[in-house]
């Protein structure tokens, strides 16, 4: 007990000396990678490997700061006190554990980052990552999950080859991406997804625009051989053809037919999932009637909802395995024939309040049903999603068109043969 108190006193004393030094010379920064005297004082304790503290919730927080890495980091220029301004001579080291958890510490430090990087933080706040944090997702990344604050590198030094830091959470996607044409060209995740304002990949046109941002003449190149190329660009995601191994599916998206706006779930009043579950009485996926009734539920006063389809890779790793254009799918029959694999998996979606898609499964037969003509008005693939009832009508028309004349000929022949017997003219 006495020893513990003595250690605390010694630490406090040495910290007091350090802080006096630090406060006195706070603005005297060292040149280049050299540490300032004040920071050297901090690191006198914090550069000891294994330096850590127990938190209130039992977690262990590392207090270790690798000196050489910090010296090289861009934050060396501002020094320890700029971020840890809450630390004073009186409160450090704290006698009581005043950090509830590692997560709470990270969230608190996020505010410190924001104080200097306000513009970047604003971008982050609009991201899917920040939306997840707001929802209380404990795994959603904050600043310190991607950036080690004591070894912050310049953007140019991020290593595209390892995918760090994205691969920490998105490892399966990164492994798929690693063999892609983009990875081989040295592009990193942020090249397409942006570093801070990362949006949900399946929402909006942003990712497609990223593709078109670099591949600027690509529409004209497709128009040379692909009929309705502009429509394909709208309805088919780039990976659907350019990641040839990806399993594809159709996502039917709710739009208001008048304003051509994608329907967004209202914050706090989620309706889509509950309405879809209600419509899908059997719980086996929405059939054509259920889909129709779901849509009717979303029809607003005078505004009719419709579904537009988009062909996309069914998994994230599949979507990232983009290959050289020589390997892209050019065979129209991949989609334009009955039973084509992309139409065997169907979801219906709406944009959730956080920007992510909220999906509900549908039976693939909805794409071939006459009942869906109205509800899935915005999606049709010649051959691939043809309406079965029309096939039967065509058979009837052909039977009538060919069978009618054949029957007429047969009757005519019959009359000729038996004309005398029934009193007609033989030469009819």
């Amino acid at each position: 007990m006495y020893g513990k108190r003595l250690a605390t006193v010694v630490m406090a004393a040495s910290f007091a000396v350090a802080m006096a030094f630090f406060l006195g010379q706070g603005t005297a920064r060292a040149a280049g990678n050299a540490l300032s005297p004040a920071d050297q004082q901090c690191l006198a304790c914090h550069s000891a490997e294994g330096f850590e503290k127990k938190l209130a919730n039992g977690e262990t927080l590392s207090l270790y700061v690798p000196g050489p890495a910090f010296a090289k980091s861009v934050h060396n220029a501002i020094g320890c006190a700029s971020c840890h301004a809450d630390i004073t001579l009186e409160n450090h080291p704290p006698l009581k554990a005043n950090i509830a958890s590692i997560r709470e510490n990270q969230l608190a430090l996020t505010k410190v980052c924001q104080s200097c990087h306000a513009d970047i933080f604003k971008q982050y706040e609009g991201s899917i990552h920040a939306a997840l944090v707001r929802e209380g997702n404990q795994s959603a990344p904050v600043c310190t999950d991607c950036h080690n604050p004591h070894a912050v590198m310049s953007k140019a030094e991020y290593d595209a080859a390892t995918g760090t830091p994205c691969s920490k959470c998105h490892d399966p996607i990164f492994k798929a991406y690693a063999v892609s044409v983009h990875a081989k060209a040295g592009l990193g995740c942020a090249s397409c997804h942006h570093a801070h304002d990362v949006s949900a990949a399946t929402t909006g046109d942003r990712l497609k625009n990223e593709c078109l941002g670099c591949h600027q003449d690509v529409l004209a190149a497709h128009q040379k051989w692909l009929p309705n190329a502009a429509q394909h660009f709208e309805t088919v995601s780039c990976p659907a053809c350019h990641a040839p191994g990806a399993k594809l599916k159709v996502d039917l998206r709710l739009y208001d037919n008048a304003g051509q706006q994608r329907l967004v779930e209202k914050v706090g009043v989620p309706q889509f999932q509950s309405r879809a579950r209600f419509a899908d009485a059997e719980g086996t996926g929405l059939n054509a009637m259920a889909l129709r009734s779901l849509l009717r539920g979303f029809n607003q006063e005078g505004i009719k909802m419709t579904l537009r389809g988009r062909l996309e890779a069914s998994t994230g790793p599949g979507a990232h395995r983009l290959m050289d254009k020589s390997q892209a799918i050019r065979n129209c029959a991949k989609c334009h024939q009955a039973g084509a694999s992309p139409f065997q998996s169907v979801t219906v979606s709406i944009v959730g309040p956080d920007g992510r898609l909220v999906r509900y499964g549908a039976k693939h037969e909805v794409l071939n049903s006459i009942i869906s003509v109205d509800s899935i008005g915005g999606f049709y693939t010649i051959g691939g999603t043809r309406i079965k009832l029309l096939d039967w009508l065509l058979v009837l028309a052909l039977l009538g068109g060919i069978g009618g004349p054949l029957a007429h000929l047969t009757i005519n022949w019959y009359f000729k043969r038996y004309a005398k017997r029934i009193g007609g003219d033989e030469d009819s």
Partner: protein, 212 residues
């Protein structure tokens, strides 16, 4: 046998381009819709041929339209305004094709320069030329460039609605064209109507000879 000039040259040119074009459209339409079942052309080739033939047919339609708009022959398309007369003639004509023709009875309809369609033809050609063909051209053009015409397509209920209309008319023509070809063989000889559509002259019965 006396003959009268019932099919002027522009009409014959229009008819044969139209006939050939419709066969190509039907065939490529089948190919597009049933790839895997029919594999004569690749999907892309079928699209290109279908599109180009469609535009040729649209241009060709105007040969027909302008000829009749600027000629007194438009009278052949004048509808019979008396429903009683129209339906009586239609019934008579249907009875002929359905029964009388087998017994060798004379065709109740007598062709003339300004009255070359029997009431069955008159009714069906008006629906076909004034409604179905223009509608098929219209929906076809919309589907030719879905993105360019997306405003109109959305106003009509979406690409699936437009395509369904296009396919329904395709189905009608798939049934109608074989029927039309068969009916063309029911003149006073099997090839009489075919010859008249090539030469312009239709042979008529003696007592009608002065009808030119």
């Amino acid at each position: 046998m006396p003959r009268i000039y019932v099919h002027p040259l522009p009409v014959r040119i229009w008819h044969w381009i139209n006939a050939l074009g419709f066969l190509v459209m039907l065939f490529t339409g089948f190919q597009l819709r049933y790839i895997g079942l029919i594999d004569v052309l690749s999907f892309r080739t079928a699209v290109v041929v279908h599109n180009w033939t469609g535009f040729v047919l649209i241009g060709n339609f105007f040969i027909w339209l302008l000829f009749y708009l600027f000629s007194d022959k438009i009278r052949v398309y004048h509808p019979e305004l008396s429903p009683l007369k129209h339906f009586r003639a239609t019934f008579r004509q249907a009875m002929f094709y359905g029964y009388g023709i087998f017994k060798g009875q004379p065709n109740p309809f007598h062709v003339s320069v300004y009255n070359k369609f029997n009431s069955l033809q008159s009714m069906s050609y008006q629906v076909i030329m004034m409604l179905l063909v223009p509608l098929q051209f219209y929906t076809g053009v919309l589907l030719w460039d879905v993105k360019r015409f997306s405003g109109m397509i959305n106003a009509l209920g979406g690409v699936r609605v437009v395509d369904t209309a296009h396919v329904l008319i395709f189905i009608f023509f798939a049934g109608f064209i074989p029927f039309h070809m068969y009916l063309a063989t029911l003149g006073h000889t099997r090839t009489a109507h075919l010859k008249s559509m090539l030469t312009g002259y239709e042979e008529v019965e003696e007592e009608q000879g002065g009808g030119k």
